[in-house]
């Protein structure tokens, strides 16, 4: 059992922190992407140069061979800097699906250009009426010529307007297959959806759009697992945001003088900030457990990932509320980055399943006699 960062991980954390601090001003980040565009290609190219787009992928693919814990180190820094580029959706989720399901030819066609910053794939999976169920897929795939005709409607596809390739989940017989569909194909209608956290998603109507690339005919299990990996990365992002909110709150309270002294000298406020610090530490622990569970067998993976998503969702909201409250009126104005962080945490809570969806998923697995009795240390090869 070892929970200390390696030297390489410390270096990644520090270099990422430095780069993002120099290039991102949390409050301004949403202005770098004018509404109508979903990705700053120039910034994306810089991420490619830094090797970030290859972080999760094997060296043989041109990646760096990082694991979930390494991804989390990077995304935590991204959260604090309120990075607007949808790194998790494009690299971790879509890239992760291609790496897991694609054959050599498909990985060469999609993964290599992704790592080089030349191709933007995204997962189009969520549909109306899902009610939190991951297997709710109505979109149909019907064999047509040397491909499949896809028909259905996908909602809130992240970076959907900017994407070059959609990874579309669709019913193929009794299973759910995953297809790669270039966005210039016919039969695709995309509507831009501005999202609360300053990005642009897309609602996408597919009307017999022909996909010639099938990544896997029975992809649901892998989709679920890679979404869990994305959630663990998102949890780390949320921790970065929480730390940033606390630091901003401390800074504000130390500088703001009312009734003859800084706010930080009022005990009631000291205790509320201390409570925020408690929640930040606890969120950090949850996120680490998620990262160390993302690659584990399903029961342990769900316990770590859904547990973290549910817990961090709950306590992040408290920290966000307190940060605004302790800033007083200025916390409510858009002049400070608080709003950006607040909305980022709100989006975190509701992406990839809500807090209560994940609490249910967690409870289903973690409250069984075997798991609830077991501490966190694992036998190698544990189920």
């Amino acid at each position: 059992m070892n929970l200390n960062l390696s030297e390489e991980q410390v270096m990644l954390r520090e270099s990422a922190g430095r780069f993002l601090a120099a290039t991102h001003d949390a409050g301004q980040s949403r202005d770098r992407i004018p509404r109508g565009a979903g990705l700053d290609r120039a910034m994306w190219a810089r991420y490619a140069d830094l090797g970030w787009l290859g972080l999760p992928f094997a060296e043989e693919e041109g990646g760096i061979g990082g694991g979930p814990a390494d991804i989390a180190i990077l995304t935590e820094q991204m959260g604090a800097a309120a990075v607007a580029e949808p790194y998790v959706d494009i690299v971790v989720l879509a890239g992760g699906l291609i790496a897991a399901l694609g054959d050599a030819g498909q990985r060469a066609a999609f993964l290599a250009p992704l790592i080089a910053g030349k191709l933007v794939p995204v997962l189009a999976h969520l549909e109306d009426g899902a009610k939190g169920r991951i297997d709710h897929v109505i979109t149909q795939a019907v064999p047509a010529g040397d491909g499949w005709a896809l028909s259905g409607r996908k909602i809130l596809v992240p970076a959907g307007m900017e994407a070059d390739v959609l990874l579309v989940s669709a019913r193929l017989g009794d299973d759910i297959g995953l297809f790669a569909l270039p966005t210039e194909a016919a039969g695709i209608t995309r509507s831009g959806v501005p999202t609360l956290d300053g990005g642009i998603a897309a609602d996408i109507a597919l009307d017999g759009a022909i996909a010639t690339t099938l990544l896997a005919p029975d992809a649901l299990g892998t989709i679920e697992a890679v979404i869990d990996l994305a959630i663990s990365a998102a949890c780390a992002d949320a921790v970065g945001v929480m730390d940033a909110l606390l630091a901003a709150t401390v800074k504000h309270c130390k500088g703001r003088v009312q009734f003859g002294k800084p706010l930080s000298e009022f005990q009631a406020l000291q205790h509320r900030m201390a409570d925020m610090a408690v929640k930040c530490e606890e969120a950090r622990a949850s996120a680490l457990l998620a990262a160390l569970s993302a690659g584990a067998t399903p029961a342990l993976r769900i316990r770590g990932v859904s547990g973290a998503k549910a817990r961090i969702g709950r306590i992040a909201r408290h920290v966000a509320h307190e940060a605004i409250q302790l800033h007083g009126a200025v916390g409510f104005s858009e002049e400070m980055p608080l709003g950006t962080w607040f909305r980022r945490l709100y989006a975190f809570e509701h992406r990839y399943g809500s807090t209560s969806d994940h609490l249910q998923r967690y409870a289903h697995v973690a409250l069984t006699p075997t798991l609830r009795d077991a501490g966190l240390l694992r036998e190698p090869g544990a189920v």
Partner: protein, 398 residues
Amino acid sequence: MDLYLTEEDIVFRNEVRAFLEKALSPDLRQAERLNPSFLADPGYGLDWQRRLHEKGWAAPSWPAEHGGTGWSLTRRYIFDQECERAGEPHFRGASLKMIGPVLMRYGTESQQQKYLRRILSGDDLWAQGYSEPGAGSDLASLSCKAVLDGDSYVVNGSKIWSTHAHHATMMFALVRSAHTGRKQEGITFLLIDLRAPGVTIRPIVSIDGTHEFNQTFFDDVRVPVADRVGAEGEGWEIAKYLLEIERGGSFAGGMLRAHFVKLCQIAESTGPDGRRAMDDPLVVGRIGEISTDLDANDMLELMSMSGAASGESPGAVRASVLKVGRSRIRQAIAELAASILGPDCLRWDAARPMTPGTGALDDIRKVAPAAYLNSRSQSIFGGSTEIQLEIIARALLR
């Protein structure tokens, strides 16, 4: 980074399980199930300590040269997890966790020879004499007096909230030996024989009906200078030392999880009124939330342990966060367990120890209301939540 046990860890864990299977008798398990308090009554707690002592396992946190096991931090953690899983009586209080380490660090050789062995064997049971009626969180303002008279100190004053002082043979106490300088400077650490003339112990009954706390009065009690630990005026340093080491090696995860499992067992049982709490989605949601809190607290403990194993000293903030977290979780578990009993939660057994129920599940159900009342003390003793928040705030706002 990983959470894996090594092969050797697994072998060790199985060895501990096998030992507990044999040595932790049904009546000891039952006594612990029926205990609403945090610490076991010495009546059965010392029995368990002696069985562990025979095996050499009574004090895993002590250095091997003084009777400890010499285990790594991970092994100590695994041992604690297994003992809690098995439902062991909680007997490690002031004797093993406080005065033992103090004597090892600040005691003279003759004090160590005289007292350490007797702690391990259970021949001495120690009570902690820190708090006073006028000095709780503000411990440094204590006023229990010690005046040097020849080769003894004469002690006058009172200590309060000493757990099991009514069973104890000895008390270690912080006393005021001087009034010069800052209030912390005039404090001295004394070892007081509770059978000495002038000692009176008055029971304090808690809101859960248990007598574990006491008030102790000292009326011209003579304490030999040989029973002073450290120099005169060094008492506060020693108290701070205890706080430091407590941060490094105490685990609560095993104990919390054991309580959590009992909560789940109550929720899965069908009560006499025909209801099963686990069928109520609100209860399942609440249990799920507590469980995620518990997982995070476990993780924080492991992170601290990992840091400590590589030589890092756990910061004051991390230690305080852990304390706040563990008391909140303990209270949440106890509160929910008592509230899902249906009308049974009103049944009260005033006997202490409690009368056994009709089986393990019945024991757990009948102790739950008293355990809930007792749990309110978790956020007060050992450094209240408010003091922990002060410590965190001070570090945060520096």
